[in-house]
């Protein structure tokens, strides 16, 4: 019978924590940059300018219909062939950003489409400028609508980021791989790493729910 031995794994717990910090940094960085891409691409996806609409459409469809693992291989191993090369961690950030940008675009677009056109017309009638209409009448209510989808996308991104360990980025999964190859306590190592991912996703989910309760209460008349 196999006897479990967690001691060598917990002896290296500091390295796992460092890895978890990298995982969080990569996820937050990618989400922030990905949101910028999404907010730019979402209106372009329904733009009158056909080439622009096509370009964004191709980006979104290609990313959403290919595996993240292949995307990161393409970026890390493929792009150096055409003279663009990254270190592992920046490559991971770029791959995650491009990936979440495509999903974010679709989420934000759905949010924008949920805004009734009459609201925009009301804005025009009130003499608001184009930027003001986009910001106050389209973007803000749309963000409130898409908040649950965006936050679960963020948690999914954090879990997906474990894949960047294959290009020797230094995230939590990679820290697990290192400890595994040094201690040979494979099952124990990955149990601990998995539990850490579970803790992170659970805490994030609870945090996002709390923020939603506080920030997105519907304005009520007094």
């Amino acid at each position: 019978m196999y006897s479990f031995n967690f001691a060598p794994v917990f002896a290296q717990f500091g390295r796992l924590l460092d890895g978890a910090a990298v995982t969080m940094a990569l996820s937050c960085g990618a989400m922030a940059l990905g949101l910028v891409i999404s907010v730019i691409c979402a209106p372009a996806r329904t733009s009158h300018i056909v080439p622009l609409r096509w370009l964004v459409g191709v980006y979104v469809e290609v990313i959403r219909n290919t595996p993240f693992l292949v995307q990161i291989f393409f970026i890390y191993f493929g792009l150096p062939a055409v003279g663009i090369s990254f270190n592992p961690n920046p490559a991971a950030l770029v791959a995650l950003t491009i990936n979440v940008g495509a999903y974010g675009t679709e989420i934000i677009r759905a949010g924008i489409e949920s805004i009734h056109w009459g609201q925009v017309e009301a804005g025009i009638a009130l003499g608001l400028g184009r930027v003001q209409i986009f910001r106050y009448i389209i973007l803000k209510p749309a963000l409130r609508t898409v908040y649950p989808a965006l936050t679960s996308q963020f948690i999914f991104l954090m879990l997906t980021s474990s894949v960047v360990s294959v290009i020797s980025a230094t995230d939590l999964a990679a820290a697990g791989n290192d400890i595994n190859s040094e201690t040979f306590a494979s099952f124990e190592t990955y149990i601990v790493v998995t539990a850490m991912y579970l803790a992170m996703s659970t805490i994030l989910a609870a945090f996002f729910t709390a923020v939603q309760r506080m920030a997105f209460r519907y304005p009520q008349g007094r």
Binding site: Y2, E61, V62, R64, N65, T66, P67, F68, L69, V70, Q71, F73, F74, F77, G78, L79, P80, A81, V82, I155, L159, T160, S162, V163, S165, V166, A173, G176, S186, F187, Y190, I191, V193, T194, Y197, L198, S201, T202, A205
Partner: protein, 218 residues
């Protein structure tokens, strides 16, 4: 000696893509059976069963599939089975799909108006008859688009089986890259093959969703 990328190499990729499809189908069928059980228990009257399914779904949706694959792979050795990447991938992907499909179908079952269940109970139908003839047929209608959407996710996620050494499309791409040194071309083709498999499904899911939205408008 560097091998040229030619028709033979492309054929190897195509053959490997069949394994990707096989893996996705196994996981989909296994996950479909598991998911139905999860969804039914998740919406059951029994509190313990519900709570257990909440935990099951939370754990599998709250941890990376890559870690689930590693645990299945290394867990097999611990429990005395000979380690086989295909079996490990099947186990992990099936459990993973069960959790996701279970959660999707739970929503669909709960979307069926409560009055339907009540009416069926009034007519004297027991749990199985009620589910089989009243609730599930109605839930199935709205379940199709998100289920197809998840199938796309599952097809893409089979690529992670390459990391535990199972030779499917992505792993074959790695192998061919290591002898031809054409990563840009090979990974580009691998991505194109995944796209060819996933995009029609995505389009179908979207079309069905729109059709359903139109059908249920009032």
């Amino acid at each position: 000696m560097i091998r040229q990328f030619g028709w033979n190499e492309f054929e190897l990729l195509l053959f490997a893509a069949r394994w990707t499809i096989v893996l996705a189908l196994i996981a989909f069928v296994g996950g479909g059976i598991g998911g139905l059980i999860v969804a039914l228990l998740r919406t059951a009257d029994n509190r313990t069963a519900r709570a257990a399914m909440v935990v099951f779904i939370r754990v599998f949706q709250g941890t990376p599939l890559l870690m689930q694959l590693f645990l299945a792979y290394f867990g097999m050795a611990i429990f005395g089975f000979s380690v086989n990447p295909l079996i490990a991938a099947m186990i992990a992907l099936t459990a993973h799909a069960s959790a996701y499909l279970g959660e999707i179908w739970r929503g669909c079952i709960q979307a069926v108006p409560r009055g339907q269940t009540e009416a069926a109970t009034t007519l004297g139908l027991h749990y199985f008859a009620r589910m089989r003839y009243v609730v599930l047929p109605q839930a199935a209608r709205i379940a199709v688009p998100p289920t197809v959407g998840f199938l796309v996710q599952l097809l893409k996620e089979t690529s992670l089986a390459s990391i535990i050494g199972f030779v499917e499309l992505t792993r074959q791409g790695q192998i061919i890259t290591s002898v031809t040194f054409r990563p840009f071309l090979v990974y580009g083709l691998v991505a194109a093959l995944y796209f060819a498999m996933c995009w029609p499904l995505s389009l179908g899911a979207r079309r069905m969703e729109r059709g359903l939205a139109r059908g249920t408008q009032r």
